[in-house]
């Protein structure tokens, strides 16, 4: 199991966002996380990457058998977790190429590999950029500064390709893209599919999933995964919207009793002595 999540809750300033999320992801799989606005999709992506804005509690949050909670964000990144940001950050004066090389070399050093020299790196970066329809000038510009929305998204995919992560989390990499750009981004993601890599695609819409076909689809509503299924589930959502599932989720929540142990938990000894769930 590459990623194992049990009863994950996350809150910010006391406001709960994720409430008991459960998910298993194996190497070689592509999972899609879908859900309406405000359901906690981006929070989930940020929590996996180690953003410390959130207060995180879980029974288990492990990546390749190691407890993620013990790892600061840069170690998670070096261990192979990559997050393509929904809103990539601008860093003025730092060239895209310089930043990419620093990132790649930080990851390589962690894996005991020698640094890539500037020339080797340059030619690799150029090739990958070309495959994403980005020209050389974009590599030389300041990181994300003055990039259009579409350029930023492509740049995230470029970074993913160069960093070769074990787990890639793509947070709305499709939003704001026209159809041609969407195809390019989707192709970029598809070339990353491999037996030793897992990909989590976070999206509102089904349209990206026409190009990047998922092995599993999960619906996140109210901070929990309330339904999982095969790729057909995405089609069903496209047709029916999220409303019917939201109602169902609300009904489940009202049945849920604070402090009560869930069935699965009671079957095994609890390792975490702290209350593992924030109740809303």
């Amino acid at each position: 199991m590459m990623l194992r999540i049990r009863n994950l809750s996350a809150s910010v300033d006391g406001k709960p966002i994720l409430r008991g999320l459960e998910l298993d992801v194996c190497a070689g799989e592509v999972h899609a996380i879908m859900g309406p606005n405000g359901s906690g999709k981006s929070t989930f992506a940020q929590v996996l990457a180690g953003r410390d804005t959130y207060h995180v509690v879980a029974d288990e949050l492990s990546f390749q058998g190691r407890d993620l909670r013990q790892m600061p964000p840069e170690i998670r990144a070096r261990e192979g977790i990559f997050l393509a940001f929904q809103y990539p950050v601008e860093i003025p004066g730092v060239s895209n190429l310089y930043f990419l090389r620093a990132a790649v070399n930080a990851v390589r050093a962690h894996r005991g590999l020698p640094e890539l020299d500037a020339v080797d790196f340059m030619s690799r970066a150029r090739d990958e950029a070309k495959s994403l329809g980005m020209d050389d000038a974009m590599l030389k510009r300041s990181l994300n500064e003055g990039f259009s929305g579409g350029e930023k998204k492509r740049n995230e995919i470029l970074q993913m390709k160069l960093l070769e992560p074990r787990l890639a989390i793509l947070d709305e990499s499709d939003s704001g893209l026209d159809i041609d750009a969407l195809r390019i981004v989707a192709d970029g993601i598809n070339t990353m599919r491999s037996v030793d890599r897992a990909i989590i695609v976070v999206t509102h819409y089904q349209r990206l999933l026409n190009y990047v076909v998922p092995d599993r689809v999960h619906v996140l509503i109210g901070g929990r995964i309330i339904r999982s299924g095969s790729k057909e589930l995405a089609m069903e959502l496209e047709e029916k919207g999220y409303g019917w599932l939201e109602e169902q989720a609300a009904a489940e929540r009202s049945e849920y009793k604070p402090g009560a142990k869930r069935k699965r938990d009671s079957a095994q000894p609890q390792e975490n002595p702290q209350p593992s769930r924030k109740v809303s």
Partner: protein
């Protein structure tokens, strides 16, 4: 905006240059009087004209009041408690070559990373090393002399090139200029002197390395660089001092003169002891630096990376007299912990078609206070003058401050003056983004800062740009985490 408290707590810094060299010093008693000035002058065996100049400055200084307009705060300085001259004791007449320099001094410079041994030819830098009040060694002199370039200590220039010194000393910063410059004119002990003859392009970077070692001592160096017609020189100064818990005064004067078609590039990497993280000790760096573009088509640029000192008060400026002359000021000023900086430039446009560029990057962290103060003055005679100023401030944490004080005085309607300013904060989101790509928090901050300073850093000579980047990293180490 960085909110994380652990982040802001980590505001400590190590100052690797804080050691003291155990060496016997020859000094004058503390205090300031005509007798002390006579004593300094006689120790240096100066001609009468030099002594007279010092005494005129001293008498002027007695009538001046310490300026209070700068946006810095410090307790009163007792000028009678300072020792105005301190020099490593010399055996006999002083060293004629590096082999005769006290090995303890050579070791000091080696620890500071300043190679005085000339075998370091590959470095391509000629160094004048000033230790407390005197110059202890100047490298590559023979090579430079073959080209007619004089590069030596100021004291030596007074003896060997009195005509040049008399002609240009005080021609850019007169002895009556301001409180600290006037004090310097009275008591200055040593510094560097460089003269580049007509049409010569100086093949080496000239460099002076200033080191304060003795306690309770002020350092008052004076540097004079003259670039004759059509010549070019690039010059760099570096500064460090031991860690002491009392403040020490450093009041230097630098004068640059560029004649027709000459160019001087002057770079400073200032890393005087900044005080500890509670604000105890550190150097008061009260410096007057000015260049005069005297000739047509002449160019002077100031590039400074200011990371040290408890208080910095300096405004390297250019007087653009010659038609078509160009002045530039590129500055990176960092204040961390309790450091205060009030720094900027003055560009005085007098000649026709004169141009000036100002790029100032201020970084404040901890409780640091950073002020940019810049004056652009276009006189009536300056037809078609152009100025572009850009002042950017970056804040790290929420206890520091950035301030901008631009002064514009334009008396010619053909002038074009542009001023841009910005203030930004290093965001948690920027740091997280870098971390998510595998960079540590410290590397993230140093990457963001280097990006912010890029326009100024790229003006430094290459070998020093690398140094300066490292220095920025060290200065801000732990300010974000």
């Amino acid at each position: 905006m960085v909110r994380d408290p652990k982040t802001i707590d980590m505001l400590t810094r190590d100052y690797p240059y804080g050691f003291v060299t155990e060496i016997e010093e020859d000094s004058v008693p503390a205090g300031l009087s005509e007798d002390i000035i006579r004593a300094i002058s006689s120790k240096k065996n100066e001609p009468d004209w030099m002594l007279e100049w010092r005494l005129r400055a001293y008498r002027q200084w007695l009538t001046l009041k310490e300026p209070t307009w700068a946006n810095v705060h410090y307790g009163p300085i007792d000028y009678q408690a300072i020792r105005y001259y301190s020099a490593p004791k010399q055996r006999g007449d002083g060293p004629k070559s590096l082999a005769e320099v006290d090995p303890e001094l050579l070791r000091t410079y080696e620890r500071l990373g300043i190679p005085l041994a000339e075998r370091e030819l590959l470095a391509g830098v000629a160094v004048d090393a000033v230790f407390d009040s005197v110059s202890v060694a100047t490298t590559f002199r023979d090579k430079l002399e073959q080209l007619g370039i004089y590069f030596c200590s100021f004291s030596e220039a007074v003896q060997k090139y009195p005509d040049l010194v008399q002609k240009y000393l005080g021609s850019v910063v007169p002895y009556s200029d301001n409180f600290f410059a006037t004090l310097n004119s009275a008591v200055f002990s040593d510094g560097s002197f460089a003269y580049i003859p007509k049409g010569v392009r100086c093949p080496l970077e000239l460099s002076t390395y200033f080191r304060i070692n003795a306690s309770e001592t002020g350092q008052f160096e004076r540097t004079l660089i003259i670039a004759d017609e059509g010549s070019y020189v690039s010059y760099l100064e570096g500064c460090t001092a031991p860690m002491r818990d009392r403040n020490q005064l450093h009041a230097a004067v630098v004068e640059l003169v560029a004649l027709d078609d000459a160019e001087i590039r002057y770079a400073t990497v200032q890393n005087w002891y900044p005080g500890d993280n509670e604000g105890r000790g550190g150097i008061y760096n009260f410096v007057t630096k000015r260049g005069k573009c005297q000739g047509v088509n002449s160019k002077i640029s100031w590039t400074q990376v200011e990371t040290g000192s408890a208080i910095t008060w300096k405004y390297p400026g250019c007087i653009l007299m010659g038609d078509n002359s160009t002045g530039a000021f590129y500055s990176v000023a960092v204040t961390n912990n309790y450091q205060q900086a009030d720094t900027g430039t003055k560009m005085i446009h007098i000649g026709k078609n004169t141009r000036s560029t100002i790029v100032s990057k201020g970084i404040s962290a901890g409780h640091g206070q950073n002020s940019y103060r810049g004056m652009v003055k276009v006189l009536k005679s300056a037809e078609n003058a152009r100025n572009y100023s850009q002042c950017d401030s970056l804040l790290i944490g929420d206890k520091c401050g950035a301030h901008t004080f631009p002064y514009l005085e334009v008396k010619n309607s053909t002038a074009r003056v542009e001023h841009e300013a910005s203030i930004s904060k290093i965001g948690d989101d920027q740091i997280f983004y870098c971390q998510q790509r595998g960079l540590s928090a410290e590397d993230a901050v140093s990457t963001i800062i280097n990006g912010f300073c890029k326009q100024a850093l790229q003006e430094l000579p290459m070998e020093f740009a690398v140094e300066a980047r490292k220095l920025l990293g060290v200065s801000l180490e732990g300010s974000v985490g």
